[in-house]
């Protein structure tokens, strides 16, 4: 390859004359000082692009990007300086620009290809490919006036990418078309890059620019800014717009975070750890995702190391409140929701995009590599998502990159919660940590008032082995080893596992009380593990509504796991009903109690109620669920003086799809009255196998 660059831009200046009309013509002399008659769009820009390079141009609106592209495409000429291009350019500035609405798709393909510099035989050679790529086989002989705008653009893009140019100019065109087509485009651009075509790329999608471009320049008011690497240029840009929009940057202990309209960028030692998509929050409600970036934000309090930002969501009656603080070498990201009325929310996800330099994950006592992201990856793929969620995880970087390992700690009081790692698609090219809080429709939603959703603590960590062992320790907290089985206590619910599979579902084994007509589930309390030894755990859960504290003691006994639940009451309290339930996988087919045997049977599609399957309601001591592939789960209940438990088997509603074995104690005559002091509410043994 010869060394002359494929594109040379030498001292290019472009000045637009402002059109003043006849008024300007006559009043020229008098008003000359007041009216600027010219606009400097580009100011002495110089750079070269070599064959096979991908070259990105970023900048705010009106910074001169389009003008520069026009000059490169030879659409207009610079006022001073020179542009030299040594190859055929195909601009994708606006797709389908030359289509004639009355002509058919076929005729337009030939015309458009001709405009892009292909002759007839060349076009004929790739005609079928073009049609196939656009996916318009059926209507290629219809006039394009009958096409939808999406079809129009698809056809335009298909022609352009098959024009086989040496240089490709890609503007924001990929934002059009449906998702499927966008993926196709991104893949095709990835392919062109692999074929070492020269690509000039202009986009506001910094993730895509970063991923695709070898070099990036930033245009700001017609002037060119370039840093050593694309990454640094983009970082500079992000900071620049961050400041200019009055968005906040917190910085302390070598950690820096830029809050930019519902998106966090995190830096350590001046290097960005997050991918350009940053860290965002996504709320799923009414079957739609609402991203924190699509929210009107303002920073309400700021200091050097902390800030509070509030964002009123457009289509939900929720004000998001982010409290950011850098403290003790870690970033604490606390998310609160202020609801002005009751809202039904399905999930709330904190999504953290890390740069692809992070190549390993640690999750519990497992560790692994992220797969490589290739151009074919058009969707996200889950890397690790164990059924047994951990509230701590970590990402480790490629060794000699000089980036710190990152430790993530998630805290939430919401009962249903899950943490997983993904790879993003090729365009974003990032490792994604998703910390997700789920609200089952039938049970929970956000009531009016303030709610603490979750807190994410992000901590750069230098010592990897220390990180590893501390994560492992943390993982075993709340866990029991039952030989072939494991149990894990997490915030008011006990979940059972056999090797890798979870036997329980949803909340697992939990305790619930009906007080003043409201069900009060143990996962709703505020739990804390107060004491843990090798074979016993004591946890305390405090109710936020009633003067009540539950103390749950679990210990290993020869035939299983002994559970004892005590209530500490500071004021007398009346309870209508209590039960201890274990929600199991739907594979469990049969149940039996002291008196009865039965099958769980099918879930009723029409039912939103949980259905009792037994007929006899006598105080008993045992209930068992069995299935073919899974170990039998048995719940034995000790008789208590003041409370007699009945055993019952239930099917949940159709949506939840779980089998439930339950011990319940309902007050038939009077309510269960708890005086001030401590009371045993439940004692039993769960055995497996």
């Amino acid at each position: 390859m010869t060394d002359s660059p494929i594109i040379e831009v030498r001292q290019v200046t472009k000045i637009y004359r402002r059109f003043t009309g006849i008024r300007g013509f006559f009043l020229k002399n008098r008003l000359r000082e007041n009216l600027p008659t010219t606009h400097l769009a580009l100011d002495s820009i110089s750079f070269s692009v070599f064959k096979g390079e991908s070259f990105g141009i970023i900048g705010a609106n009106g910074s001169g990007k389009s003008t520069l592209l026009r000059l490169l495409a030879g659409i207009t000429v610079p006022t001073a300086g020179e542009v030299i291009v040594r190859g055929r350019v195909v601009p994708l500035l606006e797709l389908g620009a030359g289509f004639h609405p009355l002509l058919t798709g076929r005729e337009n393909i030939f015309l458009n290809a001709q405009i892009l510099g292909m002759n007839r035989s060349q076009t004929e050679a790739v005609f079928d490919q073009i049609v196939a790529f656009s996916g318009l086989e059926e209507c290629i002989d219809n006039p394009v006036v009958t096409y939808s705008s999406g079809m129009y653009v698809r056809l335009g893009f298909a022609v352009a990418v098959h024009a086989n140019p040496d240089i490709f100019i890609v503007d924001e065109v990929l934002a059009v078309g449906d998702e499927e087509f966008q993926r196709k485009c991104a893949r095709r651009i990835g392919e062109l890059k692999e074929q070492r075509k020269t690509i000039i790329f202009v986009s506001h999608d910094l993730g895509m620019v970063n991923n695709l471009c070898d070099r990036v320049i930033l245009l700001a008011h017609g002037k060119m800014v370039a840093r050593r690497t694309p990454r640094e240029t983009i970082e500079y840009y992000l900071r620049q717009i961050g400041h200019s929009k009055g968005i906040h940057t917190c910085c302390k202990d070598k950690i820096e975070t830029v809050f930019n309209h519902g998106r966090l960028a995190i830096f350590a030692d001046g290097r960005e750890l997050t991918a350009p998509d940053g860290a965002t929050l996504s709320v799923r409600a009414m079957e739609q995702e609402h991203s924190s970036t699509g929210t009107e934000w303002h920073v309400t309090t700021k200091s050097d190391a902390a800030c509070v930002a509030e964002g009123a969501m457009f289509r939900l009656p929720i004000v998001q409140k982010w409290q950011l603080e850098i403290e003790g070498g870690r970033l604490v990201w606390r998310i609160l929701f202020e609801c002005s009325q009751d809202v039904v929310v399905q999930t709330i996800k904190a999504v953290i995009h890390l740069r692809s330099f992070y190549e390993r994950w640690i999750y519990g006592d497992h560790e692994g590599l992220f797969p490589k992201i290739s151009p074919e990856d058009s969707t996200w793929s889950t890397v690790v998502s164990p059924e047994e969620s951990s509230d701590e995880t970590a990402a480790l970087p490629v060794e000699n990159e000089g980036l710190p390992a990152l430790r993530f700690q998630m805290k939430t009081n919401q009962p249903y919660w899950h943490v997983l790692w993904c790879n993003s698609d090729y365009a974003a090219g990032s490792r994604v940590l998703v910390s997700q809080v789920r609200f089952p429709e039938s049970q929970f939603s956000l009531t009016k008032g303030e709610h603490e959703i979750m807190t994410v603590v992000i901590q750069p960590e230098g010592d990897i082995s220390l990180l590893r062992s501390s994560l492992r320790q943390r993982w075993y907290r709340g866990g029991f080893d039952l030989g072939r089985f494991r149990a894990r206590f997490q915030r008011g619910s006990l979940r059972l596992f056999s090797s890798e599979q979870e036997l329980t579902k949803e909340a697992g084994a939990y305790f619930t009380m009906l007080i003043q007509g409201l069900w009060h589930d143990s996962p709703q309390l505020k739990w804390d593990i107060t004491c843990q030894s090798e074979n016993s755990i004591e946890a305390t859960g405090e109710s936020r509504r009633f003067p009540l504290k539950l103390v749950w003691t679990m210990s290993l006994v020869p035939d299983g796991l002994h559970c004892k639940i005590r209530a500490q009451v500071s004021r007398p309290l009346e309870i209508d009903e209590v039960n201890f339930s274990i929600c199991l996988r739907p594979e469990y087919g049969n149940w039996n109690t002291d008196f009865e045997t039965g099958a769980f049977g099918d879930f009723h599609t029409d039912s939103t109620q949980w259905r009792h399957l037994n007929r006899l309601y006598e105080p008993g001591s045992l209930i068992r669920a069995s299935s073919e592939g899974y170990p039998t789960v048995t719940l034995r209940v000790y008789a208590l003086e003041h409370m007699r438990y009945c055993m019952t088997a239930l099917n949940t509603d159709y949506r939840l799809q779980a089998r439930v074995i339950q011990a319940f104690c309902a007050s038939t005559v009077s309510k269960i009255r708890l005086e001030v002091g401590e009371h045993i509410l439940f004692e039993g043994v769960i055995s497996l196998g």
Partner: protein, 284 residues
């Protein structure tokens, strides 16, 4: 020569005047495609399709025949059929010039999008538009021939010279069209000016009347007559009239002027267009 070394595009050279011809030869395929696109698209959604191209000159002929053969016959002396034929011919040639200039100007406006998005020789757009007018002219000539045969009989041999004379008018038309359409991009006033100019020119040229009438009327005002002759269209229309009435052409100075003028207009038009076309995208 490898692709790396070959300069495909240089902002300094791309729009140079000396490259007009080579550019047009290189992009002839595109010119043809634009021309065909026009032609195909023009009558596509019309029920009678291409028939319209024939109906238009036919109707024009019929109404002129009505005016001359029916209305004037009873009031004016002389060979009415012959003069009707002459006027018809001149109207059609004038229409070619007028519609070319207008549609050339429009073609740049209509294809703004294309100009703003892609880089091809801008001359192609007005040229393709004028080719379309050429098609209309051709159809008009056919109609004319048929009418001539029906009305008077076989046209005289001298008519074979008409294409040669037309070559001169063609150059003039192209030149004027390029000049006007380039100016119109930057100064939109041009469009209005041209419309007025064409109406004015229609009466200031011997379309509806023979040149002799003007010569007779202005015999005593040679200055005014010379001014009248400045208009190069005068010479062409006079030649058409003579050829259709079977008068052989005699070489004279009055014949030289339109030709010289046409070539000059073409050169000026082409150069101005080329210079201005480099920045068309900035003004659209």
């Amino acid at each position: 020569m490898t692709t790396e070394q070959m300069i495909f595009y240089s902002s300094g050279e791309r729009w140079q005047v000396r490259r007009i011809v080579s550019d047009l030869i290189r992009e002839r395929g595109l010119l043809l495609d634009f021309f065909l696109r026009h032609l195909r698209a023009r009558y596509r959604n019309a029920m009678m399709g291409f028939l319209w191209a024939i109906i238009h000159p036919l109707l024009l002929t019929l109404i002129l025949l009505f005016v001359f053969v029916v209305v004037f016959q009873t009031n004016v002396r002389g060979n009415i059929r012959q003069s009707a034929m002459e006027i018809l011919t001149k109207v059609i040639f004038w229409q070619y010039l007028a519609s070319s200039v207008l549609s050339g100007m429009q073609s740049l406006m209509e294809n703004q999008n294309l100009i703003k998005k892609t880089s091809f020789s801008r001359e192609i757009l007005p040229l393709a538009a004028s080719l379309n007018c050429l098609v209309n002219l051709g159809i008009g000539m056919m109609v004319l021939l048929v009418v001539h045969i029906l009305l008077i009989g076989t046209p005289p041999w001298s008519c074979l010279w008409i294409p040669l004379v037309f070559c001169g008018e063609f150059l003039l038309t192209i030149g004027a069209m390029l000049l006007v359409s380039a100016l119109n991009v930057r100064y939109r006033d041009t469009g209005y000016l041209v419309e007025i100019g064409l109406t004015f020119g229609f009466y200031a040229s011997p379309v509806l009347y023979p040149l002799e009438w003007v010569q007779n009327s202005l015999a005593r005002a040679p200055m005014l007559l010379n001014l009248y002759y400045v208009n190069p269209v005068v010479g062409y229309l006079d030649m058409y009239q003579k050829l259709i009435s079977g008068v052989a052409l005699e070489f004279s100075n009055t014949m030289m002027w339109p030709v010289v003028c046409s070539i000059a207009v073409l050169l000026i038009g082409a150069v101005v267009f080329r210079k201005m076309s480099a920045t068309f995208a900035d003004y659209l």
